[in-house]
């Protein structure tokens, strides 16, 4: 085989992959190995590939991704806790020609923001919702969320979630799929290369739906919170596969073409 030096290989014509310019150069504020970073990049790559950077308005939540506007190199508005779908509704109705999406954690979307989430989905607002489900309130120290699994330990359920006293976990994505306003509802993950590729396809489909004014597309990403779960990043990804995926199975839940 012909030999090639690293310098010859590292030329622009051989470039296969580099971080998209739609992410700023600010170091992400996330813990090492946190899926938020990968999810951010996937959304920005899709906007980049669709060439809609200057036509897109993102709504940042409260939670670890509260600073998403620092990292996503697009127009953004940060919303009060849980209110992102309401803010997105207003932005989209005032600027119907823009692409509008929310980016929200499970505490934001499925606890304090349940009403805003369900009504925006039921109204069928022509927006995209990106939902990062790590089963916990990451930012505030790993408290139990509506999405916390039965038996799962958190700082407010140190002996594990007891369904009899703490209630059942909420599968809000399945619930949303029942609503006539949603056109596309899917659940994905970002811990392996294959999952990253699938999630990117799902996010692309969601924004293509918005382009065609089809209604609301909802992409859940089951993700890790290694700090909150008190594991290393690799352990947390394994724990997620073993424990989160059986309860939150991956795949499309509703596809109306």
């Amino acid at each position: 085989m012909a030999e090639i030096t690293k310098e010859e290989l590292r030329q622009p014509e051989n470039l296969i992959y580099k971080k998209t310019d739609l992410l700023t150069d600010k170091p992400l504020s996330y813990c090492p190995g946190c899926g938020h970073g990968t999810a951010h990049r996937i959304v920005m790559e899709v906007l980049d590939e669709m060439g809609i950077q200057d036509q897109t308005i993102g709504i940042a939540p409260v939670g670890c991704s509260v600073l998403a506007y620092e990292f996503m190199n697009i127009d953004m508005q940060q919303a009060a806790h849980g209110r992102a779908p309401a803010v997105a509704t207003a932005v989209k109705r005032l600027h119907p020609e823009k692409f509008v999406f929310t980016y929200q954690g499970d505490g934001d979307l499925a606890a304090i923001g349940t009403a805003e989430t369900i009504h925006a989905c039921n109204r069928g607002e022509n927006i995209v919702i990106i939902f990062i489900n790590n089963g916990i309130y990451g930012m505030t120290g790993g408290q139990m969320a509506p999405t916390t699994l039965p038996g799962m330990k958190s700082s407010t359920s140190p002996y594990g979630r007891d369904v009899a006293t703490m209630g059942n976990p909420l599968k809000i994505t399945e619930l949303i799929a029942q609503l006539p306003g949603t056109i596309y509802v899917t659940r994905q993950a970002v811990h392996t290369p294959a999952n990253v590729r699938k999630t990117k396809k799902a996010v692309r489909k969601a924004f293509e739906n918005q382009k065609l004014n089809k209604g609301l597309s909802f992409v859940e990403i089951v993700s890790n919170c290694n700090s909150g779960w008190k594991m290393t990043p690799r352990q947390s990804n394994e724990w997620m596969v073993e424990n989160m995926f059986p309860f939150y199975p991956l795949g499309d839940i509703k596809v109306n073409d």
Partner: protein, 74 residues
């Protein structure tokens, strides 16, 4: 048969040492360094020349610090 040669460049100062890229590589190209970067993380580094430029490592890196090159060798 045409063979593919790949290479990656890791921005070690931005690497957070999470190791998520390590199991993503089909050819065990990446391992964690014994040295630390300015933030105190044991950063990722390449340990062999088996890279095929598949970009698996780069697309799972939460911090987007890996750049990938690939060339088809005749």
């Amino acid at each position: 048969m045409a063979k593919v040669k790949g290479d990656i460049v890791i921005d070690i100062e931005k690497c957070k040492g999470c190791e998520v890229c390590v199991p993503a590589c089909p050819n065990d190209v990446i391992a964690m360094s014994k040295n630390v970067n300015g933030k105190g993380y044991n950063y990722a580094e390449t340990i062999n020349d088996e890279c095929i430029g598949c970009a698996n490592c780069a697309i799972v890196c939460p911090d987007g610090v890996i750049t990938v090159y690939r060339k088809r060798m005749e």
